[in-house]
Structure formats: C-alpha cells, structure tokens
Amino acid sequence: MTLHTIRTGSTGRVWRAIMSGIVCLLAVCMPCAPHAIGQDQQTSQTDAAPEPITEPVAGDDAVPAEPAPVPTVPPGATLPVVVAMDVPSDTGNAISIRWPHDVSQAKPDAYILEMQTPDGLWKQVTRTVLTSYQVSGVPNFTQFHFRVKALYGEASMTSDIAGPIEARDHWFRTGKMPIVVAIAVFVLILVMFINAARRGVELFVRRISGLNAVEDAIGRATEMGKPVLYIPGTSSIEDVATLASLNILGEVVRRTVHYDVKIICPNRDPIVYTIAREIVRETYASEGRPDAFDPNSVFFLVPDQFAYAAGVDGIMVRQKPATIFFMGMFWAEALVMSETGAATGAVQIAGTDTPAQLPFFITSCDYTLIGEELYAASAYLSREPLLLGTLKAQDYGKLIFMICMVVFSILAIVFNWDLSPYLLVK
C-alpha cells in the first residue's frame, strides 16, 4: 500500500533522488579521500628511502654547531630528509613535519626537531623517537624553518634545513566533505518531499502503537477527572530530543484543552521552561480557551537532576495524575520517576532516544516510543503534511544509508574495494 502510494505520488523523483544521492556520495567522496585518511600524524613513514647527506649542516648563532664526533656515529647511518608542509585544510596554526627513516639503516636513539623562528633563533620543538611531528600553536602566515638532529648515543647528525614553510588557515575543511555530501543529499530529499506535501500528495505513515495510545490516555484522564503530567525530558535545549519533546507537548496540550483536562509540566532547564510555557499558553489561545490557561501549570522546578526527580515523585504521589508522559532526553532519573508513576497506577507513555534508559521505560511504562519514534511523533500526531514530508525524508535518508551499507560491503568483499575510509570525517 505504502510504497505504492509513494510510487503513484512522486516515486520516480524519489528513486531518482536516491540513486543520484548515492552516486553523489561516491563521486564527491573520492577526490577528498586522501584528506580523510592521510595525515596520520604519529605513524612513522618508512617507505621513502632518504638520500644520505654526508656533511651536517652547520647551525647558527643560537645553537652552536656540534663538533661532529664522526667515530661514534654507527656506519651506515643516514641523515633524515625533512619534509615540512602546512597541514592541509585545517584551521591553521599547525605544520606537519616528516623525516622518513630508511629501515635498512641504523636507527638513531632519538630525534630532536628544531624550529627556526622568523627572528633567526633555533629552538628545540621536541625530542622524539617517531619520524613525524605536528607543530601546533604557530602563528599563521609566518615563515619557519625546520631541521632534525638524529642522535646516536653522544653523537648526532643534523639534517638539511626544510622550509621556509608557513601555516595557513583554509576556507574549507575538505576533511568534512562526507558531512557536506550527506547534508546535501538529505536536504535534496527533504525539499522533494516537502514539495510533494505542498502539492498535496498523500504521504503514508504506518501505525506507531505508542502514539495511538496518546488519545486514549488523555481520555482516561478526563474520565477520572485527574491531571496529565508531562515531563519534557531532563536535558537542555541543546539536545534535539528536547526540541522533539516540546513539539509533542504542543500536540498533547491540544488534546488536553479539547478534553478540558488539567496539565502539569515541571521543568528542569530554564530555557526549556520558557519555551514550554509559551507552547502551552499559545496552544490554549489557538484552541480558543486562553482563559483556561493556568500560569501555574507549567513551572520551573530545579536544575539538579535528582532534586528534579524528587520533586516530580512528590507531584506524582500527591496530585496522582491519571496519565504521565516522559518525552525527551533522560538519564538515570528515568526509572526513579517512572517506577513511582507506576506505583501510583497512572498510564505512562514514554519516549526517549537514550538507549540506556529505554529498557527501564519499557519495563515500567505502558507504551514506549523507541529511539527515532520520538522524532516521528510530532508529525504523526499532528498529521501536518509538511511535517510528514520530513518524516518521509528521514525514512528515505535511512534507506540510502542502508543501501550504502550493503553496496559498500559487497564492493569490499567481492572487489576488495574498501570505501569505508571515505566516510570518515577528519
């Protein structure tokens, strides 16, 4: 029924978008891949054989040149060749330096990396056994020179000077390319479905049992003449789950106004409280009952996690709400509240995207929205076409990722093309 609905609506477009999305993902990721996987800053690179330099380069005033104690340097020891480059597509202030070591040659005890500042002084940057280093905290657009001393016991050999080199900040961080592509694909799908919704295409969404229960639960509160308690999560506005919860709050309040049930909404975050209060007040207004809004029904409780749980427990046992909603982000206080709610005999509907708290909601609540069902809820409850459009986009985004998973795995197994590094963000 449903795939069919879409097919008759804008199927061709959708599938074309998905296919082009995958092609885009592959095509755009490829060129930027070296940035995504290269630059292992600490790994030693041993493949390039450095050319031997017989004479150490003399230092200058700040660090006097070492009198070369030739006899102690093991025979066959070669001098490192230093390669310095600006770290590509970063935020600047960093220069990456490598001095590959030939494995067939005698390995020095350690290297000393030195840097010449613009005022001509040489200073030691680090002493390391590795053959690469990333100098950080250098000013941008200032020229530096580098050299490396290889230490063999008391003796040392100094490399050629590399540079001048300067650190730069870059307009675009190519390492972030996979995200850009993913966002582009997602926005493309989103726009298509929103357009479809605007044109009035019927968008099917399957039944979500936890959400069908909302109506009955509020109806039950009406019959019992008891309030509805709504917990908008215990996180701040930065959490998207909180935003999703606030969207659901609007839908729940719409129904409580309709049934003339009292709502109680205690908050843990002052900003969330402000928004929640606005939502409740405006919903009362838009449903034509501005007078029925009780300013004392949405209130701020306390920012402390367990003090909040203690307060909510108190509300539960004293006001005995008939229905309790837990929507949003929860931590350990989830079970403290939901078990107390269960003991009072309330119908409880929970929804969170925190996998750690879901099992507790499942055991102590009557209905639980698992993970992204929370995000689907406001669209599902309101049935507003534009919101349903985004829900569809979310679904098809998921489909693309599923196809990617399978296709990439097949490519990796059958053709030994491991594309997974292209997905990594640097």
């Binding site: 998207v240 900003i271 919903t283 701020f300 403290v336």
Partner: protein, 308 residues
Amino acid sequence: MKRNLPLYLLFIFAIWGGISVFVGKESVHEIDNLLRNKLLLIVGAFAIILGLGSLIFHHMVKIRNKSRYWQYSYVTLVSLFISSFIGLFGGVRGEKSLPTIFGGLVLLAHDGQVYAFQNEAEMGQFKASPDKFVDPARAVMPLPSNVEAPLSRYAASSLRDEIELRASNARRNGIQFEMISPVTGKPVPFKKDFRIHIQQLFEGILVPCGSTMFAMLAFYMCSAAYRAFRMRNLHAGVLLVSAFIVMLGQIPLATAYIPGVYELRQWILDVPNMASKRGIMIGVGLGAVATSFKIIFGIERAWLGGDE
C-alpha cells in the same frame, strides 16, 4: 514581525553555526568561539531569572491558596533564600565578603613552620607547589616567632597540642583539605571549624540527597524486574533472557563456575546489542537531523506557539 523576526534570527544563527563547522579560517573560529562561549551564555543566564521567578511564584501561589501541603513550600522558599544568600555573599568556597567560614584563618603546618591563610583558596596556592609559590609578603608566618596577631586566639593552649587535637577531629570528620602537621603528619584543620559556605551545603545536603535518590534505583529496579520481567510474549521473553544472561555474567561467582556464561554474555553484547544499538543510533541520528532541519526551515513552529 512577531513570528517572522524570531524565525529569521533563528535561521541566520543556524546558518552561522552550521557554516562555522566547515570553515577553517581562524577569524571565523574566533567569532564562533566568542558567540558560543560568551554571548550565548550571557543570553542564557537571563532565562534563569525566569525560571526562579516561576519557582517562587509557584510556591507563593501554593501558600496563598493554602493548597494541600502548602506548609512545605516554606521549606523550599526559606532554604532557597538562605542558600543563595550564603552563596552569593560568601562565594562558592566561602572566600567572598560574607565571612561564612567561622573559625577564622586556615592553618598549614609545613616543614616545621605554621602558615596562616585568609582562606582555602590562598592556601591552595601554597599547597600546589610549596617550594615555588610561597609569598612571604602574604599572611605566611613562621612560628613561634610572631604568633601574636592572627593567631592570638591560640595563645592559651600550646599550639602543638592544638594541632594534634584538630588533626584527630579532622580525621574523624573526614575533612577533605590537607594541612600537614610536622608533628603528626596528619591533617590539621580547626577544632571548631563550622563552615557553612555553599560548598559545605552542597556536600552536606545535596550530595546525600542526590546519592540517596540515585540509590533508590536499586530498589526500583528489583521491583521492576520482579513485576515486569514475565515471559508474556516473545519480545518480553527475549528481553528477560538477555538481561538474565548479562546479569549472570556480571557475577564473578557465576562466571567462574558456570561454563559459557561469560562467553554468552560477551556474545550478546558484541553481536545483537551492537547491531541494535547501531541501528538505533543511525535512526536517532537521522531523526535528530530531520528535527533540526524542521526547526531551521521553520516547518516545525511549535516553539512559537500558536497564532499571533
């Protein structure tokens, strides 16, 4: 205007926030840091006024209406005012104008000398690295040469006895900061050290309450396990069995004597748990992204409320 201005502002800030992630320019990052670390925090601080206003209003209404259990609202209001008074005027650790550390100076005995400090913060500096940061100009005084001024209260008793007595008190009371006595090598706080700065309220009231609330979870969990873990259907059964095995795998006795429990637990964590969590995470990630876009594009306007 009333709806669109906030929406435009939201959109502009969203574009800025989104773009600054992808731009590597130093100047952009500086502005972004300023916005995130300062300006938005300043804006957010004002919301707290609203929150507190709401809390106080809520309890005032309760008291005025003589709602059920209205008497307890006084407990909240009084404790709120007292604790914020202590905090605001005494500072987080009692180092501000309100002299909330009763008992005067803090003593530190070190290397055969006793130093006196105005407060713990000052002492912390000394403690951090004694060899470096002792500033003789500050209230640091070797004993017994000039005991007079700040320590005169202790002239009556021998200072050494005093220190030992305090050391034993402190040990029993579990006072945290360290003052090392050259005599006993034990902590040396004050004898009549009754500190009520806000940190003490935190440790004395918030910590026990919070940990006890948290600890109640153990009881709730057992009751949930007893009541809800029934093999009503396949899903509940699977949940039960998997929880059962993982719990067994947590017990050293069981892993030591029942073969295969540990491996099975590990398999559950590694295979089905991993797969499902991964699926949920991808789904939640997309759901979060979709919700964010809904808000940025103004499709979801619940936060604006209804009309107007």
